[in-house]
């Protein structure tokens, strides 16, 4: 029984990381219908930036993180302004190719600048700090990840539901021409969306970096986060988070009881099965194509 609960706890911990990445992707998809494959690498470069600040400059951790978050937001907005906005024929395939291109450029840049070897992040909470409750080991870092995932989910949900900017973002996705007519500057909205999304993704990156820090560290969380976002319906914030926790928990239970070897692929098998039954995800209204 303890084993079972321990697996659920680690599943929730993994799920939180996926949830953060999934949220970041959903924000962009909600506004611009771009599946952003560069999300992971945007977080990667922010984590390395934070590490650089902490190791080369003598500043406090909190200030360094604050600067990194600002960097992440500016990076997101910059990428939208310089690259995405210039796309001539925005169709889904073109957008996927562009974001994969951005991903490769950022990945190449980071591994050129910092080398491919494993680094250590001077993070205030170490990966092995934790406490034991009733025989179950809980890592402090995981708790922090869980709190930030839930925090971002609630804040973003309220933001999209009630704030003026959030409503403008929704309007931009639903009908950008109509949004422009009522006076929404859709270009500026897109830039802000990318900034916010990059910030959410960067949180995931910074929270992963104490455990593992090398150029490919964001691939698995990014792909699983994307998978969770797709499973949740790509436009639903709570959907992405719930799907992320489902994936995390199923993955850990599968690893514990059936086969540890196929742990990482079970998420994708689930995705394909879910998509066969519900082609637009679990929590989205069925997408009806307009002719």
């Amino acid at each position: 029984m303890i084993d079972f609960i321990q697996m659920i706890v680690s599943g929730v911990a993994t799920g939180s990381t996926y949830a953060l990445m999934g949220l970041a992707m959903v924000i962009i998809y909600k506004t611009s219908e771009v599946p952003n494959f560069a999300q992971g690498e945007m977080a990667l470069i922010t984590s390395y930036f934070a590490m650089m600040l902490l190791t080369t400059m003598n500043i406090s951790v909190y200030l360094a993180f604050f600067i990194s978050f600002a960097f992440a937001a500016i990076l997101g907005a910059f990428l939208e302004f310089v690259i995405l906005r210039r796309a001539k024929e925005p169709n889904v395939l073109g957008m996927i190719v562009i974001t994969i291109g951005i991903e490769m450029v950022l990945l190449g840049f980071v591994s050129w600048k910092f080398g491919a070897e494993e680094k250590t992040m001077p993070f205030p909470i170490g990966p092995y700090d934790g406490f034991i409750v009733g025989g179950i080991y809980i890592s402090k870092l995981d708790v922090l990840t869980l709190i930030s995932a839930l925090f971002f989910m609630i804040v973003l949900y309220l933001f999209f539901k009630f704030s003026k900017l959030g409503l403008a973002m929704k309007a931009t996705q639903q009908n950008s021409v109509a949004a422009q007519i009522v006076g929404i500057k859709t270009n500026r909205i897109m830039m802000m969306t990318w900034g916010i999304s990059s910030l959410v993704g960067a949180t995931a990156g910074l929270l992963i970096s104490p455990t593992v820090m090398q150029p490919f560290m964001m691939w698995d969380p990014m792909l699983k986060g994307f998978a969770a976002a797709v499973m949740g319906g790509m436009t639903s914030l709570p959907g992405a988070v719930i799907a992320a926790y489902m994936l995390g928990i199923i993955e850990n239970l599968f690893g514990g009881y059936i086969s540890i070897e196929f742990k990482t692929v079970v998420a994708f098998a689930i995705i394909v099965l879910v998509l066969c039954v519900k082609p637009s995800g679990l929590f989205a209204r069925h997408y009806v194509k307009k002719v």
Binding site: I96, G101, G108, W112, L223, F226, V265, F268, V272, C276
Partner: protein, 349 residues
């Protein structure tokens, strides 16, 4: 570009005797090419030809049928492992093992095509991506496939000939490549090919006109996977050794990049894209050996970047090419070629 006046002009393989002449010259020079160059360049040619086959197959799916696949490394791996396993374990001759393995890949392509009937955009991207990753993981864990240690390709014999050098293997590769490309070009001009294009342009309209969407979409996946399987089977013999680590997501991305950079929906484009990206890939692996540029980069890396990560510049180059093509010339290299042709045709004016 050229005006087509009737149906037969649209379906014919060569538009004029001049084209036939140049085609024969091209084929002839391709067959004579290994006699004049080093072994290394023959190896490069093999590598490129194999990637051309995959790019052509993927172009049928992405460019002509309008689907997305980020999992072609999976089919490639099935082809490679299938061929080698059938030869080692079942004792099949190469010429039988290769199509059998490719048919297995096509079967998987058909299976992947089934969920793809209901999916599009990012949903399809994640489903195919998941498929590619799953295949690599499974191959890496099953003992029959050599696990993490990989497999050595057996000796390659066809009838009385033993193909043990790159030059000898080249003739097999180039023959198959030419045959497969001609087949693809013909296929696109038939009823089947037009059905694919109709599905890409407007699937609902196509269905209304009587195109069987279920059949043709799964067929596109199966043919595309078949091509990747054939290419994978030969790739095993170019490398002489295969392991699961080769068939990564990065490889799938590279295949997609070839198709997009070359030009969606153009056979010529796939060839150009595959040649360009493969050549760059091989060149950039040893970027410091390039004269002048290499020394400058070495200085730059030592002062500002890290010298250990210098080979990662290839990601930057590939990524920039993909972005630049999508932003400035969505038709890819083929689009540039068309524009050049148009410009020179009416040149002084």
């Amino acid at each position: 570009m050229d005006m087509k006046r009737d149906y037969y002009e649209d379906v014919e393989l060569f538009s004029s005797p001049v084209v036939v002449f140049w085609f024969i010259v091209l084929i002839g020079s391709l067959y004579l090419f290994p006699m004049f160059v080093d072994n290394y360049y023959v190896y490069v040619a093999n590598y490129i030809a194999i990637n051309i086959i995959v790019a052509a197959g993927l172009n049928l799916l992405v460019g002509f049928t309008g689907q997305i696949s980020l999992g072609h490394a999976g089919f490639f791996a099935i082809g490679a492992y299938g061929t080698v396993i059938l030869m080692i374990k079942a004792g099949f001759p190469f010429l039988l093992a290769l199509p059998c393995a490719a048919l297995v890949a096509a079967g998987f392509g058909f299976l992947l095509g089934l969920p793809a009937l209901r999916l599009e955009g990012p949903y399809l991207a994640i489903a195919t991506l998941g498929f590619g990753l799953t295949i690599t993981q499974i191959i890496g864990r099953v003992e029959l496939f050599g696990g993490r240690d990989g497999l050595h390709a057996p000796d390659l014999t066809i009838g009385p000939w033993v193909l043990d050098t790159d030059k000898e293997f080249y003739f097999l590769v180039i023959t198959l490549t030419i045959f497969l490309l001609l087949f693809m070009r013909n296929l696109i001009k038939t009823r089947v090919g037009r059905a694919f294009i109709a599905i890409r342009d407007a699937d609902i309209a196509a269905e209304t006109m009587g195109v069987n969407i279920v059949f043709y979409k799964t067929l596109a996946f199966a043919i595309s996977a078949f091509y990747a399987g054939i290419a994978g089977g030969m790739y095993a013999f170019v490398l002489k050794f295969i392991e699961p680590e080769i068939f990564t997501l990065l490889m799938s991305i590279l295949f997609l990049a070839m198709v997009v950079v070359g030009g969606l929906g153009s056979m010529l484009g796939s060839v150009a894209g595959a040649v360009l990206l493969c050549w760059l890939d091989l060149k950039l692996r040893n970027i410091l050996d390039i004269p002048y540029l290499g020394e400058w980069l070495k200085d730059l890396s030592e002062n500002w970047f890290s010298i250990t990560g210098v080979s990662n510049i290839q990601y930057i180059v590939f990524g920039s090419i993909m972005i630049a093509i999508m932003l400035f010339e969505p038709l890819g290299l083929y689009g540039i070629w068309i524009r050049m042709k148009k410009y020179w045709r009416t040149w002084p004016f």
